[in-house]
Amino acid sequence: MYKIELKNISKVFENKRVLKGINLIVNEGEMLSLLGPSGCGKTTTLKIIAGLFSPDCGDILFNGKSIVNIPVEKRGAVIVFQDYLLFPHMTVEENIAFGLKMAKIKKPKRRVKVREMIDLVKLDGCEKKYPSELSGGQKQRVAIARALAIEPKVLLLDEPFSNLDTRLRESMRIFVCDIQKKLGITTILVTHDKEEALLTSHRVAVILDGEIKQIGTPAEVYEKPSSPLVADFFGEKNYLEGEIIKGFFVCKMGKFKTGFDKYPRVMAMIRPEEIELTDSEEGSGFWGRILSKQYAGDKIYYKLSANDIQLKCMANSKNMFEANQRVWLKIDFEKTIFFKAEKS
């Protein structure tokens, strides 16, 4: 299996800089997710790794060797496309055997491999069917089998689960993770679903606007985002501007102990779920007023106002508060993440 290194990869399409110097290392046998919003250049990155696009500048290394000049058909980095792209005129079997046939593998050997793949992705009985006769989940499994059949050194999954319904997505996710673990293929999973990225991979690379903003384990990127941009990508946040003075965060709401004393000008990031609402003063926090409430079954979303600042809060539905009610916002500032304030 290969270790993949991207060095300063850039790509411009029609005067639009889609990738702005991507640097990324994927270790041998690792499953890394490339997480980012639609249009940020995820598919482009995969196509550049696979050789379907060539980068405008930068280098790609597999196991330390540059492969930018190796044509796509010889690279051994296979993409499972977002829309599967099964060959409509071939049966499931023929689709899976396609790569082997192109590599001029002899028929008996091909047959064994196809059988093995069909067992692996559990498609018994579908061998002779055409893609138009398959369900979404089956098509997806054919696409995976077709990619795995040629024993790629690098597997590139481009939002492989986005066309599936929630339940199927979950089972396919587990299924793909299992296969990846079993075969130990170096894998990049592209997704815009943060939960998918956090659930499946060893490490997550957050790509925004053509740049990789942060790479780390799922817990690292979620809990210690490197910037408000990354943090916001994992869900809406509240920000309070203030200063850190001698271990205290001083802002419009008051003065709170932090156990932290770098950066004079800071932004405190408070997740909606980190605000606890009570009707009496309790621990560190401040008073606010409920502006609106949205009921979502197990959760309730509140909009609050405190000192003319709007805040979002997500609470469980044990205690319900009504609009206009005065509530105490209990926040543990010792666990809060502070970013250096941006000059505005």
């Binding site: 796509v72 792209l85 409509p88 040629i150």
Partner: protein, 289 residues
């Protein structure tokens, strides 16, 4: 139930005219080919005319010659047309210009095409003159006779002039509708450009290639004006032969003409049958995506 019939009922007047005229014409021709032509006093059904025509050396030569010209012209048009479509598809720039240029012959009528070919290829034509002027041939009569010739070169060339763009246009349209990403997927799985063409693009183009092949084949088999204008005196192509029998002032010759027409018609029917078969054959993977 009523809904199901509604379109048929509404179409009935038009269908009556189209099918009515068509079937009446066909039926009349069929009766005349069987020797039933009361207008000139022929009132008996007989297979005599079929027997005579089908065993006539002249007819068989014509049949062979017709099959030969339409087969050669259609097949060449097919191969060249597909390659042309593919190379236009591959060429990144000037697609628009190329597209317009090769579409041109499709709209020009066959008779004009025949005229053009005539002007260029006769021994006194443009090509012969140019070659003479360049000193490649010393006399215009040295130029091979390509028109009215026994090999049907002139006919074949005019059919090619019309057929190649037709095939190319059909194939190009389908080709540009095939998802480009399928090519990407194939390359990504290790196929080279040639394999992509043979294993992905060609099979996906097959239904349209076959059907346009059948169309030009049927057309060149039954067309009249080009062989009439450019064909040799003998053997004549079947449609010309039918026409000559038809305009014979001796009306008792009419059944011969109709027998030839019946042969042409049944041939067309066979092709129509093939045509519908091709579509069935490929219906399994008709979604080109």
């Amino acid at each position: 139930m009523l809904k199901k019939f509604k379109p048929y009922v509404m179409l009935a007047p038009v269908m009556f005219i189209i099918l009515g005229i068509f079937t009446m014409g066909l039926a009349l021709g069929f009766f005349q080919s069987l020797g039933y032509f009361p207008a000139v006093g022929l009132k008996e059904f007989t297979l005599r005319y079929y027997k005579e025509v089908l065993t006539d050396i002249g007819f068989l030569d014509s049949l062979k010659f017709t099959l030969y010209t339409s087969f050669v012209s259609s097949t060449l048009a097919l191969i060249i047309g597909v390659l042309l479509a593919y190379s236009i598809f591959q060429s990144k720039s000037r697609k628009g210009v190329l597209y317009t240029i090769y579409k041109l012959p499709v709209i020009v009528p066959h008779s004009i095409a025949a005229l053009l070919v005539f002007n260029v290829l006769t021994q006194s034509g443009i090509l012969a003159r140019v070659l003479f002027y360049l000193g490649i041939i010393s006399e215009q009569t040295q130029f091979p006779s390509l028109i009215f010739d026994q090999n049907g070169i002139g006919i074949i060339i005019s059919y090619l002039w019309k057929g190649i763009p037709f095939i190319a246009m059909t194939v190009y349209t389908v080709l540009s509708n095939i998802n480009d990403k399928l090519t990407d997927a194939a390359l990504n799985l290790g196929a080279n450009r040639r394999q992509v063409f043979w294993k992905i693009l060609l099979p996906l183009l097959m239904p349209s290639i076959l059907s346009s092949y059948i169309i030009i084949f049927a057309f060149s088999f039954g067309a009249f004006e080009i062989p009439y204008l450019l064909g040799p005196t003998s053997p004549k192509l079947l449609p010309v032969k039918a026409y000559i029998e038809y305009i014979n002032p001796d009306l008792s010759h009419r059944p011969y003409s109709m027998v030839i027409n019946m042969v042409l018609a049944s041939y067309s029917l066979i092709l129509v049958w093939f045509y519908s078969k091709t579509f069935k054959l490929f219906s399994k993977f008709d979604e080109i995506s």
